[in-house]
């Protein structure tokens, strides 16, 4: 009986794993299922004519991966490259890209019921990247919907890079 109750609870309120990273003093979370690997910062080759949110490309074991300037994408001020800077390789619906972050923190477990909807005031398009917020370990996590990080047109632009 107790097992059934626990199973029902888990199906009604699933536990999701989020990889958290720091950016401009705030903590963000992305779905662990979309994270392929975390790389130390390496030289990023700029691409002439690329969109402004593209830092450049890196060579990942023979594959070319486009790296996104996450600060620029989130309308945050630009930061410095430190020892903690990481490139998180993520996989969306059809593409594999890298996002540059200040640091990677940990993997946290969040119940679906713990995630709250964030407000959306203003006219900035980037507000739609926020999937929700969650208060965990005395800090507020901003959960990012990676599938909305770029529009379909922008994904097409990346293919041309």
């Amino acid at each position: 009986m107790a097992t059934d109750l626990a199973k029902n609870k888990s199906t009604d309120d699933p536990v999701l794993q989020w990889v958290t990273f720091r950016l401009d003093g705030e903590t963000y979370g992305i779905n662990v299922m979309q994270v392929q690997e975390v790389l130390r910062y390496s030289e990023i080759a700029p691409v002439p004519g690329a969109p402004s949110y593209v830092l450049g490309i890196i060579n990942l074991r023979g594959n070319v991966v486009t790296v996104i300037d996450t600060r620029h994408r989130f309308n945050l001020s630009s930061g410095e490259i430190t020892d903690n800077t990481r490139i998180v390789i993520i996989e969306t619906d059809r593409h594999v890209i890298g996002i540059l972050v200040d640091s990677v923190a940990e993997v946290v477990y969040l119940r679906q019921s713990e995630i709250e909807m964030a407000p959306n005031v203003g006219n900035e398009e980037s507000a739609k990247f926020i999937q929700g917020v969650c208060h965990k370990n005395n800090e507020l996590l901003i959960l990012i919907d990676l599938n909305k990080l770029l529009t379909s047109e922008e994904w097409s632009e990346l293919e041309d890079v």
Binding site: E26, F74, N75, L76, E116, M117, A118, P119, N120, V121, G122, N123, E124, E125, S126, A127, K128, F129, I130, V133, H135, N138, E139, L140, I142
Partner: protein
Amino acid sequence: MSSKQSSGDSTVTPDDILNSYLDDLLGGEDPLGAALGEMESRITLAATAGSARVVPLPTKKAIEKPAEKLPVVKSASSHARSEVPPPPPKTSTKPRSLVQSKSTFAEPEIVQTQEQKLKLEKLLQSARTQLLVETPVATPTQVETKTSYIDNPNEIQEWVIETTEVTIAPEIVPVADILPTENVQPKHFQLDGLEWLENGRPQWAQSRFDVLLFQVSGLTLAVPLISLGQIQPLTDELTPLFGQADWFMGLQPTPAGKIRTVNTAKFVMPERYDESFVETAKYVVSINGVPWGLAVDSVNQPITLQPDDVKWRGDRSKRPWLAGTVKDHMCALLDIPRIGQMLIDADKNFIPV
């Protein structure tokens, strides 16, 4: 049978039958003759309008047509074929005379006088007139359309598809109308206390009311206590969110939940905004009924105001959040319910509980 015997005639000629029929049909008043003029005028009118055509019709069918309209005659006709037909009486009805003439004498050799021929011609003209009047049911346009499509089977198929679409289209429209509009358009959430009465004051200021004074970038603001929720300190946990309006400071976690904190200085006086307010703001005053709060520098003691103490604003189209000014305390009185309504209206993700 008895009438035949009483007349004394042993044989009945086709002339007698036809005369009997015509006498019964035309009668003394000749109603068909009277109606003929009217029919001819209608034919002329239809022909000139192009909606009728002169169609050569067999005379025999024209005569049979009135008989088909009478079902009693048909049953009598079948009965007459199986049995010996009785001779037609002089006083018989019109249908019976016609049926007897057809069944008994299949191919009569008619001998007519000139007057009978004229009457018969009138009768045939009347029968043609009836047929011509009924003809416009099938319009010439329809006949031509069908004929043109028969030559090309592919075109016939396309034509059938088009007519199917035409018949389906009206059925789709009511289905769309059935959809409830309440599900399509989200219900607009509205806070209480938004209305202003005819005396030029809001609902919450109809009598003596308490207000809380607080400081924002050197400006004293007053808010009605009845519209306030709680006062929480702003901490390091205040988390800004990217992509929001510039007057949004961030989310302040509190034991009562996350307060969406408004940069009050930026909200009420953006032209005189001082960036230092972010550092000087100490508290967030939450608004009752909504998850929003106003960041303030400091909070003073509450005071009690009479409605006459306030100079209420008449035109609030420019700054609807400003209810009026309090001269005695040199402060602006905020319409907190209106501010709350503006905030939830601005939030695209707001879902009323």
